[in-house]
Amino acid sequence: MTKVSMTVNGTAASGEVEGRTLLSSFLREQLGLTGTHVGCDTSQCGACVVHVDGKAVKSCTMLAAEADGAEVATIEGQAAADGSLNAIQAAFQEHHGLQCGFCTPGMVMSAAALLKDNPKPSEQDVREYLEGNLCRCTGYHNIVKSIMAASGQDVSALAVE
């Protein structure tokens, strides 16, 4: 067992992990942060995306030990302390960017990473950035629309089918 310490959503967190403990397992099972979802567990679906030192990563494909000392951000840290949604979450709600919601934590975290580097992405930018996030409900149109809206752009002309 190895001791790991990291900052998760601004709060210090630590625990004992095995070498094989995944970051997703550490967050969900040891810290109880079950907002990070594990869909495929094969690094394809992106439901487990979190930020490590500001970069989007698939937490099912990173060892917890590799995140020792890092700043980790998960979906639980996106809303304000009073529960009010951030701009991306609010846009997903407003534009119906989810149906079952399973992929949503990863979608929101990927969107946050995109908008940090590219505050006014084109529709094509958004679609390319979401290449590693799968949604089996929405057909993506409303997710793209939500992210475009969260960036402050007019989405009235975007595809609605």
Binding site: G19, S43, K55, T61, M62, A65, G132, N133
Partner: protein, 261 residues
């Protein structure tokens, strides 16, 4: 995934020492290794993380030579390798953004997946793979599917690319996995053109000699119009037949020549 011992050295010397034990395996970004271990296709007794080795970080350009540290991620190459735009674009299209934030150049080259992008870039660029022990020319490095010239416990510490006069990488992606069904990296150097193909051959990445000769004489897409590749030895699977891949190599080569900058 079976359990293993985890070690995170901070220098190449310590990493080499850590890898000297039985069944030890180097860990780059883990984007191939961790899924492989989950499937129990690999079960090392110890993983030696290279992410804490400062001397394997960084991208630098100097007099037509681009040097990329072995632990540099694809996202970092995409953002920082502006001295070699075709390489930066190639790195920016590996996998997806989250994978690019973890996967490393050293890990990709050491794994030598027959559909990986970096082997084609390294081979077409006549890159030099620098390890803790020696320098290996790309022409000698790749030795067949998942096989390289690396010895047990040898670590890729950096890769040196001679920046070509013009280059382009064109990838036809397999739509489910996003890996290259066929990818062709064309690089025009002062002493001739190199064409490296990934995704197509059962032997892994290879150079297409006939196309290199034709393009060295005339660097235009039409110069290879009459050439074709022998489909025997190509990968044939449910995503494409041998003949299809052989044909695609020609198509992607022409596109790469047309797009080369």
């Amino acid at each position: 995934m079976y359990n293993f011992e985890y070690e995170k050295p901070s220098s190449v010397v310590d990493a080499v020492a850590a890898l000297a034990s039985d069944e030890a395996q180097a860990l780059g970004g883990g984007q191939t290794l961790i899924p492989t271990m989950k499937q129990r296709l690999a079960s090392p007794a110890k993983l030696v993380s290279l992410s804490g080795v400062a001397e394997m970080q960084g991208v630098s350009a100097d007099g037509g030579l681009l040097t990329v540290g072995g632990a540099v991620t694809h996202a970092e190459v995409a953002a920082q390798a502006s001295a070699y735009p075709a390489l930066a674009r190639m790195a920016g299209r590996i996998g997806d953004p989250a994978v690019r934030n973890r996967g490393t150049i050293g890990g990709s080259l050491a794994n030598n997946d027959p559909s990986a992008d970096y082997p084609a870039a390294a081979l077409a660029s006549a890159a030099t793979v620098v390890t803790n022990a020696r320098e290996i020319a790309a022409d000698d490095f790749f030795q067949g599917m998942f096989d390289t010239a690396l010895d047990e416990g040898e670590i890729i510490t950096s890769v040196k690319f001679a920046v070509p006069q013009a280059a382009s990488y064109q990838k036809f992606v397999q739509p489910a996995s996003r890996f290259a069904l066929v990818g062709v990296f064309v690089a025009k150097h002062a002493d001739g053109v190199r064409v490296a193909v990934t995704g197509a051959s059962e032997e892994g990445v290879f150079r297409w000699g006939e196309a290199e000769a034709a393009l060295s004489a005339d660097f235009a897409a039409d110069a290879i119009a009459g050439l074709s590749l022998d489909p025997s030895g190509m990968i044939g699977d449910l995503h494409g037949t041998k003949e299809y891949r052989a044909h695609l190599v020609g198509v992607m080569t022409k596109r790469a020549v047309a797009a080369a900058t």
